[in-house]
């Protein structure tokens, strides 16, 4: 199991499109992925509804946890996606 933190940098936070991109990428890995907020709320990283309902906005910090054979690659790719503002802006 591997966990790393990231900060949301894009303006919208986890709106539909960023959340979708996150889910699309997360779904490419076999590892089980969990996204946690600092306040403890967490969701399945492959659930767009779950991510959206976390109500993550610009500036919030999240931890991305992966558990599985490709956990390292999964966490790194997802952190990169978030830190790069989901390739938008």
């Amino acid at each position: 199991m591997l966990t790393k933190n990231a900060t949301i940098r894009n303006q919208e936070g986890f709106h539909a499109r960023p959340a979708q991109k996150f889910v699309e990428l997360a779904s490419k890995f076999t590892a089980h992925i969990t996204v946690k907020k600092l306040d403890g709320a967490e969701t399945d990283g492959k659930s767009i509804l779950g991510l959206m309902t976390l109500e993550l906005s610009k500036g919030s910090t999240i931890s991305i946890q992966a558990d599985g054979v490709d956990e390292e690659k999964a966490v790194d790719s997802l952190i990169q996606l978030v830190e790069n503002k989901f390739g938008e802006e």
């Binding site: 709106h15 539909a16 959340a19 979708q20 399945d44 659930s47 767009i48 509804l49 959206m52 906005s57």
Partner: protein, 582 residues
């Protein structure tokens, strides 16, 4: 596979060959009413919900493609989100869990899961995310739509020529029948005068009822031959049989063409006695068809269909428009509007009439409308208002004593007074009549004759009440016979009473359209004959070939006979003697 011959009760003539369409009403209604399912149904429901998911996904795919082309990528992403919701591990698996574990119906499962997320979104601070509740609701609508489409098909969905096979057809089913596609129908239950049978004749759709459980042998798509006259239904016929029936169909079409010359002819016997040929309708649109078939009047406008087609009590305005349309279509020809005849076998959900053990002897027709005065007053106002646009007459159903008639007249007087006070026009001299369908009314017809302008004999109920035969019960349907001497006697009394008072009598039951009954009804002096549109030409043709004098002599003879069988065989002999083919 060899052919199979089934026998039922032929209720609407005509031969058709077509593919079977199995329509099961009763079972379908049960499923819709329940909110939970049984263990045995789980697999079916899961399959249905899965199909709806796939259909929704494919539909979204198409929308996304179009939006990308016509609007732009950004807008398409909103719709892509809906697709993502469908594949979300927190969404669809929850719906399946609801079905598997909580035994919810597919619809309830979808609604419950959607509601859960909608509530979360609506509570959010981020306005954009709050808005996403709408996307979920949109997805919900999409899923429910597909779930609904995956149900057993509705009659309105039929888009090819078929022969309908059903347990029974409710009045609301029959109003949905599209003649363009439904060539004929057969039902498991019902008798010659059940409402399904009457409607089949009105719509001129060949039909067989009372087939019993044997209809269950028929499979979807089987080739059927239906002979609505003999009541024979042949399943998967041989080549030779098919050939024979194709010839019969051609002959029928030729006969129909020959009868066409009677459209413009009057129904006058060879010795000059003229009668009026009218038709029964259930909605104003049928008036047009009736005119095209040479109807000289509407002898019975059954207003209950207006009430059955709606899921609410039709307003005065809605009723007025329908009645006015019928009156205007007939342009000066009489339209006899029967006030609401509901109860018995014609139930209305929104009126919440309690179920009765003996509905035909219970709270129905005039008894109900006198009790629900507001409803009655509304209908009478609508009829009166329409009466300025044609020749409308009012008829009260199921009158059994004089008090009922005077009470009905009181309500009519009140409706007239209201309209006068409001300055609304209506035909002040509007004629009123009663149905003679309860034996007590026929027996004291002389007293009724002083109080009304006309009688209309409703043979269907008159036979049922006189002979104590439930016309819906296929086990006793064989006893139902308007040639029973007691029935003929009551008809004779009614017609004679009206003539003595200088009034007239009509008949709006099935007997008026029966070729075999023509000589008796001429003999008894029936003035107005109202029948299904499809019977008019044949009856006119027969009348023009008979003489009143001969028919009177025959009738005097018939009235001495003891059984319906003797009476019918004597009439057949009479036709033979006169070389007339029925």
């Amino acid at each position: 596979m060899s052919e199979l011959r089934l026998q039922g009760i032929g209720v609407s003539r005509g031969t058709r060959i077509g593919k079977a369409f199995i329509y099961l009403t009763a079972e379908k209604e049960e499923v819709q009413a329940e909110e939970t399912i049984t263990e045995a149904e789980v697999a079916d429901v899961l399959a249905r919900v899965d199909q709806a998911k796939q259909q929704s996904f494919d539909e979204l795919e198409n929308i996304i493609r179009t939006v990308k082309k016509t609007v732009g990528e950004n807008e398409a992403s909103i719709i892509q989100a809906q697709q993502a919701f469908l594949n979300d591990p927190a969404f669809f698996p929850e719906i399946i869990k609801n079905i598997r574990v909580k035994k919810f119906t597919a619809e309830k499962s979808v609604k419950q899961v959607v509601a859960q997320f909608v509530n979360i979104f609506l509570a959010m601070k981020d306005e954009y995310l709050r808005e996403r509740a709408t996307d979920l609701q949109d997805l919900e609508r999409r899923l429910l739509k597909h779930l609904n489409n995956n149900r057993a098909p509705e009659l309105t969905d039929i888009r090819e020529e078929v022969i309908l096979v059903a347990k029974d057809l409710t009045p609301s089913d029959t109003v949905q029948i599209n003649k363009e596609y439904i060539q004929a129908f057969i039902t498991q239950i019902g008798g010659k005068q059940s409402h399904t049978a009457i409607l089949a004749r009105t719509m001129e759709i060949p039909a067989i009822v009372g087939m019993g459980k044997q209809v269950q042998i028929i499979n979807q798509g089987d080739v059927l031959i239906i002979d609505g006259l003999s009541g024979i239904c042949i399943v998967n016929p041989d080549k030779k049989t098919l050939e024979g029936y194709r010839k019969q169909i051609a002959k029928e079409q030729e006969e129909q063409a020959n009868l066409a010359e009677y459209i413009t002819k009057q129904a006058r016997t060879i010795d000059g006695y003229l009668v009026e040929i009218a038709t029964n309708i259930g909605n104003p649109e049928e008036a047009e068809l009736a005119l095209a078939k040479g109807a000289e009047a509407i002898g019975l406008y059954r207003t209950e269909f207006l009430f059955m087609e709606n899921n609410h009590l039709p307003t005065e305005e809605e009723q007025y428009r329908a009645y006015r349309k019928a009156a205007e279509t007939m342009s000066g020809k009489a339209v006899i509007i029967r006030t609401l005849d509901i109860g018995g076998d014609k139930e209305l959900d929104y009126l919440s009439i309690p179920r009765e053990l003996n509905p035909f002897l219970g709270y129905r027709a005039i008894r109900l409308t006198l009790d629900r005065r507001e409803l009655f007053l509304t209908q009478l106002r609508a009829i009166l208002r329409a009466s300025s646009y044609g020749k409308i007459k009012i008829m009260f159903p199921m009158i059994s004593n004089l008090q009922e008639l005077s009470k009905a007249k009181e309500v009519l007087a009140e409706a007239k007074q209201q309209l006068s006070d409001e300055g609304i026009e209506y035909a002040k001299d509007i004629e009123i009549g009663i149905m003679i369908e309860v034996p007590s009314a026929a027996l004291i017809a002389d007293r009724f004759a002083k109080e009304v302008d006309f009688f209309s004999i409703g043979t269907n109920d008159l036979v049922q009440y006189t002979l104590a035969v439930d016309r819906m019960n296929e086990k006793v349907a064989y006893l139902y016979d308007y040639f029973h001497p007691a029935v003929l006697q009551l008809i004779k009394m009614t017609i004679e009473a009206s003539k003595r008072a200088g009034k007239w009598s009509g008949m709006c039951g099935g007997m008026a359209g029966d070729p075999l009954a023509v000589p008796v009804l001429i003999g008894l002096g029936l003035d107005e004959w109202s029948m299904d549109a499809g019977s008019m030409l044949k009856i006119k043709q027969l009348i023009t070939k008979l003489s009143k004098k001969d028919c009177e002599e025959l009738t005097a003879e018939l009235l001495q006979l003891g059984t319906a069988e003797e009476i019918k065989s004597r009439i057949r002999q009479f036709y033979k003697e006169n070389k007339i083919k029925t």
